[in-house]
């Protein structure tokens, strides 16, 4: 398990909203741009790592009970994304690192894979 504050530190990230969730813990990491794949996950406490910076990634997280999303490679979140995430208690974190490096850093810190 990792606290979201530890996730942010590990990937040199920045939280864009829901900073009250810094102490929330995540157990699994799942890296994907394919929201169809995210919707097949049954575990709880998942951190979604994605390059898909649009309203669909936030909606998919909301409907899958995912409370934190990392947007890699400095992908920007627009205001509609931030508003939806705030309404649904989802922290959006941005990092300059690639999906590969972000996943590697978090794997190294103990975040578990699902498959």
């Amino acid at each position: 398990m990792m606290k979201l504050s530890e996730v942010i530190e590990a990937i040199d990230g920045q939280a864009l909203c829901c900073k009250d969730l810094l102490d929330k813990e995540v157990k699994f990491g799942f890296s994907s741009d394919l929201m169809s794949d995210v919707l097949t996950l049954r575990d709880d406490d998942i951190l979604l790592i994605t390059g898909l910076a649009n309203i669909q990634s936030i909606r998919t997280a909301e409907l899958s009970d995912i409370n934190a999303i990392v947007l890699v490679r400095n992908k920007a979140a627009n205001q509609a994304m931030i508003d939806m995430a705030t309404d649904s208690d989802i922290m959006i974190i941005t990092t300059k690192y690639s999906m590969f490096k972000t996943s590697g850093l978090l794997f190294d810190k103990g975040l578990s894979p699902i498959y």
Binding site: D33, S36, L39, I55, R59
Partner: protein, 142 residues
């Protein structure tokens, strides 16, 4: 209690809006989180299908103490080969839909995995009618 929502074709900015409303309602009714997740994931898959493939449709949700029944009916091309559509990876989604992160051919199989009962009636160049039932007396084991 029963509620229904219209779903417009092609408007991906609103994709999931109806599913989100129904999720809020199910939470207020005190339905267990794991059951809500199954219902909402299956519903969202169906909602995305209506937006991606049909000319528009309606979602209705009927909750009784025993079960939640979701019905998604659209006007549209129908599903020409239902057996193929139930196979993981089979998809007729457009490039635009895929760019949104959907259209990987996992929607109907995922609905089947999450619902306790699934009935699909479809007619080519007319409609698709999906009825999914979720029992409230114990969560489906996978």
């Amino acid at each position: 209690m029963q509620t229904s929502f219209p779903v417009a074709a092609g408007d991906f900015t609103k994709a999931g809006a109806a599913s989100s409303e129904i999720k809020r309602m199910l939470k207020q009714l005190g339905i267990p989180q794991k059951t809500i997740k199954r219902i909402v994931v299956a519903l969202f898959e169906a909602e995305v299908n209506v937006i991606a493939h049909s000319y528009g449709g309606d979602i209705s949700c009927d909750v009784t103490p025993q079960q939640v029944e979701i019905r998604v009916i659209d006007k549209g091309p129908g599903i020409p080969d239902l057996n193929l559509a139930m196979k993981e990876g089979w998809s007729t989604a457009s490039e635009e839909v895929r760019e949104m992160g959907y259209g990987a051919g996992m929607g109907l199989p995922n609905i089947k995995k999450n619902a306790d009962l699934l009935e699909i009636h479809t007619a080519a160049n007319d409609h698709t009618d999906i009825r999914m039932t979720f029992f409230l007396d114990g969560d489906k084991e996978q």
